[in-house]
Every structure is written in structure tokens, then in C-alpha cells.
């Protein structure tokens, strides 16, 4: 994912605004105070760093068992059959091992 200067400006000021990607023309609809170039640069770096740091979460999310499977496995376990639950737990651990945190 590529963040734009507009993304950084929006993240900094919040509220309603409109503008082009490079942030050279922006309407601050809610009368926010425009951030400085230094603040925008710093926020852009923070957004990119945060996105990279969360890479493992996105990777895990796409390979974890589905919510439906988890719910069914939980119900079956409650009913006395834990085979599906054990399988799901093993799959989750494998995904966590594959995509380590940090």
C-alpha cells in the first residue's frame, strides 16, 4: 500500500476534507488547521512504518480458518467432539509460526 500526502494530512487533522493525492490543493471543510510540511512528512513515515509493522496481522488474517469454521468447531466441542476444534487450533498455530509477529 502506498500512502499519499493527502492520507497523512487527513490522518493529522481528522474531520471532513477534500484534496488531491499530493496535498497541493486541499479544502479543510471543518476549518481544521493545515499541518506543516514537517508534520506531514513525519506522519507519512509513521503511517508507512505502522503498515509495515502490521504486515503479519494481514498475512495471518488471510490464512486463518474462517469465523464460520471456528463457530462450528466450538459448537461441536461443546457437544463433545473436539476433533474439529483441535484441527483449527493446529492450523492457527501453523499460521502464527509462518507469519511471526514483528
Amino acid at each position: 500500500m502506498t500512502f499519499t500526502r493527502f492520507d497523512a494530512m487527513s490522518s493529522l487533522v481528522g474531520g471532513q476534507l477534500a484534496g488531491n493525492d499530493n496535498g497541493t490543493k486541499v479544502n479543510y471543510i471543518d476549518k481544521q488547521t493545515p499541518p506543516s510540511d514537517a508534520e506531514i512528512d513525519a506522519e507519512l513515515k509513521r503511517l508507512e512504518d505502522e503498515y509495515k509493522a502490521n504486515e503479519y496481522q494481514r498475512s495471518r488474517a488471510s490464512e486463518y480458518p474462517s469465523i464460520t469454521d471456528v463457530v462450528v468447531a466450538l459448537a461441536e466441542k461443546e457437544e463433545g467432539d473436539s476433533a474439529m476444534w483441535d484441527d483449527i487450533t493446529a492450523k492457527r498455530q501453523a499460521v502464527k509460526t509462518k507469519y511471526k509477529k514483528g
Binding site: T4, F6, S10, G14, G15, Q16, L17, A18, G19, N20, D21, N22, K25, V26, N27, I29, D30
Partner: protein, 204 residues
């Protein structure tokens, strides 16, 4: 003064030929009707109603991508041209749009698109608009809130018409809005995704 009639003898194939100084035929009659050639029509010539008198073609590749995170109607792409009072203008255009979630978790992935016309100069990101031609929401609603961006991709293909009330530069433009700060509507006008339109000038 009675009518002056110049007419070839009444035999099939006979013509009346009007020539320019170079000897070129500029008006040649047939047994019925006539053919005009190499003729320049003056701007004051009256054309029949419904005739397409002019075609304005536009392709905007320079406004760049706009991000609209507001419910305020915001001008996205503007085309201007010289219009003549009383003539009709038929518009057809297309612009690539993409609504998505900007922040929070919600079920909205849609944006409002519209076209307007007026005689006041407008530029992208203006929040004052003129006469509405057409508007519609575009996108979808999820079954429940979703925190991913989940962008949608659409071509806003629009058409409409208006009659000029004055002879002046006229402006036809798209304007979009989202649901507010948590939703982002994107409008493209660049080399990869140009915003295009054709405007036909039709005689009244």
C-alpha cells in the same frame, strides 16, 4: 419587382451552372434540386432545428486524483466551452470513481456523483455548484460493518442536456460527495484514467 427566375431549358440533363472566377462550379442544378460545392457558409447562416452545429471534445488528464471525505458536494472535473444563447447542449462523459472506507467500521462503500452546468468559472475542489443536470449514488452497502477499506470501482458514465441562456463561456462539471469524514470518494482525471466528455451543440 417580380421574381427573377433563371432556369435551363426543360430537357432532362440540362443544368444551370454558377461558376467562380477560376471556372469552378459552385452551384449546379440537377433536374430536381442542386449541388453546392466549395462553399463557405457565414456564421450567421441559419441551420435547421436539430442539426448538430458543433462538437466539443474533452479529455482531462491533469486534475489528478481527488479524495473527497466530506458530505459537502465538491467539484471534481470541469470542462469549459463557448456556448451560444438558445442552442441546446447534449453532454456525454465518463469518469472513473472509487468509494471506500477511510476510517472506522461501517457498511457504506458508496458515493454521490452528479453533473452540473453554469456560467460561473469553477475549478476542482470548489464547493459551490450551479444547475444540477443529473445525480445518483454509486456503490454498495455491506450486510454489516467492515473495517477494511474494501474499495469499489466504477465508471461514472453520465449524460444530460441544457439550453444556453446566454452567449458566454459555459462550464460543465462533475461533483461528488461521500457520507462524511469516515468515507472517501475518489475521482480520477489523470493520464492512466482520463476524465472524458463530448458535448454536442444542437440548433434550436
Amino acid at each position: 419587382m417580380p421574381d427573377l427566375i433563371i432556369k435551363p431549358t426543360n430537357t432532362s440533363g440540362n443544368k444551370l451552372i454558377l461558376q467562380d472566377q477560376a471556372g469552378g462550379a459552385v452551384l449546379t442544378t440537377a433536374d430536381s434540386g442542386a449541388t453546392a460545392a466549395n462553399v463557405t457558409l457565414a456564421s450567421t447562416t441559419t441551420f435547421p432545428a436539430g442539426k448538430v452545429n458543433n462538437v466539443f471534445r474533452f479529455s482531462d488528464t491533469s486534475t489528478a486524483t481527488l479524495n473527497i471525505q466530506t458530505a459537502t458536494v465538491t467539484v471534481a472535473g470541469v470542462f469549459s466551452f463557448s456556448a451560444t444563447s438558445g442552442r441546446h447542449y447534449v453532454i456525454a462523459g465518463s469518469q472513473y470513481m472509487s468509494p471506500y472506507r477511510y476510517s472506522g467500521s461501517h457498511d457504506r462503500r458508496y458515493q454521490r456523483n452528479a453533473i452540473y452546468w453554469g456560467t460561473t468559472a469553477r475549478t476542482s475542489l470548489d464547493t459551490t455548484v450551479d444547475t444540477l443536470i443529473f445525480a445518483a449514488w454509486m456503490g454498495q452497502t455491506f450486510a454489516s460493518g467492515e473495517s477494511s477499506e474494501a474499495p469499489a470501482f466504477y465508471a461514472f458514465s453520465y449524460n444530460g442536456s441544457f439550453t444556453a441562456g446566454s452567449t458566454a463561456t459555459h462550464y460543465v462539471y462533475t461533483a461528488i460527495s461521500s457520507n462524511g469524514a469516515d468515507d472517501r470518494a475518489r475521482a480520477y482525471s489523470d493520464a492512466t484514467y482520463p476524465h472524458t466528455a463530448v458535448i454536442f451543440e444542437v440548433m434550436p
